[in-house]
Assembly symmetry: C2
């Protein structure tokens, strides 16, 4: 149930043949700490050191390419990143429209989509939008 509990950023990076740099480590550490999908801004505020935006995005790109993290696109101005855990690569994401949190959702079998002849599927993204337990029950 609990992923990467004993895994630190350095180990993660080295196991993927990636150099261990401050920015990459910071990004991974933030994600491992918070256990929710985080935006660039959220990661930035979580870190003590500051990095140039370019460095951040280059780190994201590297981590994405090597599948250490994945990206959840909620809106052009609302992007979140999360570490890849033991879950299958295909899983859904729940987005709470009130508290703005994104959580990975296990136990989903992606729908079998009846596409016309000749279509090839590479990947399927499933985003569920609504209210999380906390925001749904604590009605203001």
């Amino acid at each position: 149930m609990i992923e990467h509990q004993n895994t630190n950023p350095q180990e993660l990076l080295h196991s993927h043949q990636l150099k261990s740099t401050a920015c990459r480590e910071g990004i991974l550490q933030a994600m491992l700490d918070v256990r929710e999908a985080l935006s660039e801004h959220e990661i930035r505020t979580h870190l003590s050191v500051d990095f140039d935006r370019t460095t951040f995005y280059r780190s994201f790109k590297t981590l994405l390419e090597h599948q250490l993290i994945h990206k959840i696109v909620l809106d052009p101005q609302k992007i979140k990143y999360a570490v890849h855990t033991h879950r299958g690569s295909e899983h859904a994401h729940f987005y709470c429209e009130q508290c703005d949190s994104v959580r990975c959702v296990d136990g989903i079998h992606m729908p079998v989509v009846p596409l016309p002849e000749g279509y090839l599927i590479h990947h399927t993204d499933l985003i569920i939008r609504g209210l999380c337990h906390n925001c749904n029950t604590n009605v203001s």
Copy 2:
């Protein structure tokens, strides 16, 4: 199978109690002509008249709010819009990673997601990425 064949932008707008303006009409006309989800740029090049970007985005916003169109977010820099047809509001989208086209996919039953107690679902987005028939069979 063919939607909005005899529907023109003015009728669409009036039936939704919206003023018929040049920009709104243009956007809808482009979508009805092309029958694919279109980006702002694609709509812009399809139109003869030019509008300010602000006007475009305000028109999108209005059309979205009144559910005449819907938005498909593929990436922060890759956004498409499509007219709402007779399909149910919940349908999947197929994105071809080669030719960059987005098509609405019918006949999908959205997966029933086993969320923890207390969660409330408002909407589900399903995006399938891969190669369309044309790009898959016409291999270069």
